[in-house]
Symmetry: C2
Subunit: 294 residues, 2 copies
């Protein structure tokens, strides 16, 4: 039997994504030892119950001192404090990666805090469901999905390749990208859709009581899809918006302009304008089907 | 063998919904004869090929003169002209229904044109996919879904009950409602979500070429769900927005106010505001799961 990819892996935050990755690591024997740091006692207990950790602790030194790879899998807003706390305990040559949905903030908050002997390879597996917590994880979550890595210029190639190898084992397709570019692409493909879904579901919760009941009853007509998106983890999404402010505000501005133009077309009965847009958007769906992402 | 529910049924427009209903009528023997009127020769040919019509024609008199039930299944904007064309040929006691996503416009456009001896029972099966055309139909489309009927006050009860019986056979749950109330509920559950999905996908199509390619590539992160909605039939949706203008503009205004408030919270880094909303919207999802509409 060949040696595992990493002697010791430590996952910080054993939620939906962290526990899914732990399952992959266990399934494929990617780590000799798998340690978990989590501030919530019930998450630690579940990680042990599910067999996802050899040790589950809230002691940073115990968790990261032996680690060859540390995976940050908590909401992005917690990264700066966690990085500062782990920095003194990391061994030379250790790799730190993450699974966050924004990447410029990782380079900004985590990079400067880590010792120079540690390799930072920020990552973003584009996968997830609206469910949260260690029990919601599953090893197949990343299968056939993209994982974007945004290593800063000059990052050790061997370190990048070990992180790549982990995501390849998870079944992901891997792309390397500038963090700023990542944040701009994700602002439109993920952050804006989530913001809009949260908004429309919020608008519905403000309706008068009987109307709100009927919105739930007749949700199958389109609204339901938005509620699924708007059931995603609140803290995780708060942190994404706070940490990708510029790109989100930019695409939001474009969206609002386009929506205002449509609103005007409806008000003035400009059917041709509506039909032309609705025809154009069909083509995008076909492109996605062709790209096998549907 | 008991007599069919209707001697002769005529479906006007054998698209996704019309052909799905035709499949139900055939499967359950709800009609002695099933006639189809469609302006597109290839739709008529497909209706005959698929065994969904005893006669497929573009001659209004031939299509509706023998009908005990006429089902309008074309985009809502075509109803006024179709109703005027069919009125002289309808027999006394015939029932006219429809499957359109707006209901006040049906009462307004179709009601006054029909002879007094004909019963108008407007209907809206809340079902559909993003696909179009006779081949996209299937008999199970309406199974477990709501169908809303909005008969004007004083409509013959026996006529309403026959339309109800047809949708019950299709597996639908049936609700009777005022047309204005229907249009308001659907504006939020269906029309606004579609408008927003069309807008965001349109915003993405305006991006620079390479960014647009990446939006397609990384669509799995939320955007994909919107593209499915935004691939719905362009003419059908144009007509829905033009015919439910007031209710759509009203909910759109509420939505825009809420989105502007969120935009401000992101700009000023008000994490608590974001988290509070994102927590509230999770509860709505749970209500939908409890209502078994998820």
């Amino acid at each position: 039997m060949s040696a595992p990819l990493f002697e010791t892996v430590t996952i910080i935050g054993i939620g939906h994504i962290g526990s899914s990755l732990a399952r992959v690591i266990r399934r494929d024997g990617l780590a000799g030892r798998l340690l978990v740091l989590d501030s919530q006692p019930e998450h630690r207990a579940q990680a042990l119950e599910l067999g996802l950790a050899d040790l589950a602790t809230d002691d940073m030194a115990a968790a990261v001192a032996p680690a060859d790879l540390v995976v940050l899998a908590t909401p992005v807003g917690s990264y700066a404090a966690l990085a500062a706390a782990m920095a003194p305990h990391l061994k030379a040559g250790a790799i730190v990666t993450d699974v966050g949905s924004v990447k410029m903030a990782v380079v900004r908050d985590v990079g400067p805090v880590l010792p120079e002997t540690v390799h930072l390879v920020p990552g973003h597996p584009i996968a997830g469901t609206e469910h949260s917590g260690p029990k919601a994880g599953f090893a197949e979550l990343f299968q056939g999905r993209w994982c974007i890595l945004t290593p800063p210029p000059g990052t050790d190639r061997a370190a990048i390749d070990k992180v790549r190898a982990m995501w390849q084992a998870a079944g992901s397709m891997i792309e390397e990208m500038e963090p700023a570019h990542h944040d701009r692409v994700l602002a439109i493909t993920s952050h804006l859709p989530h913001l809009i879904a949260y908004t429309i579901v919020g608008t519905a919760t403000d309706l008068e009581g009987d109307l709100q009941q009927e919105v739930i009853k007749f949700s199958a007509s389109g609204f339901r899809d938005f509620t699924r998106i708007a059931a995603s983890d609140p803290v995780m999404w708060r942190d994404i918006f706070l940490n990708n402010k510029e790109a989100v505000l930019d695409v939001l501005q474009r969206f609002t302009e386009d929506l205002t133009a449509l609103q005007r077309a409806i008000r003035w009965g400009e059917g041709d304008t509506l039909q032309a847009l609705f025809t154009r958007t069909r083509a995008i769906r076909r492109s996605i089907i062709d790209a096998r992402q549907a």
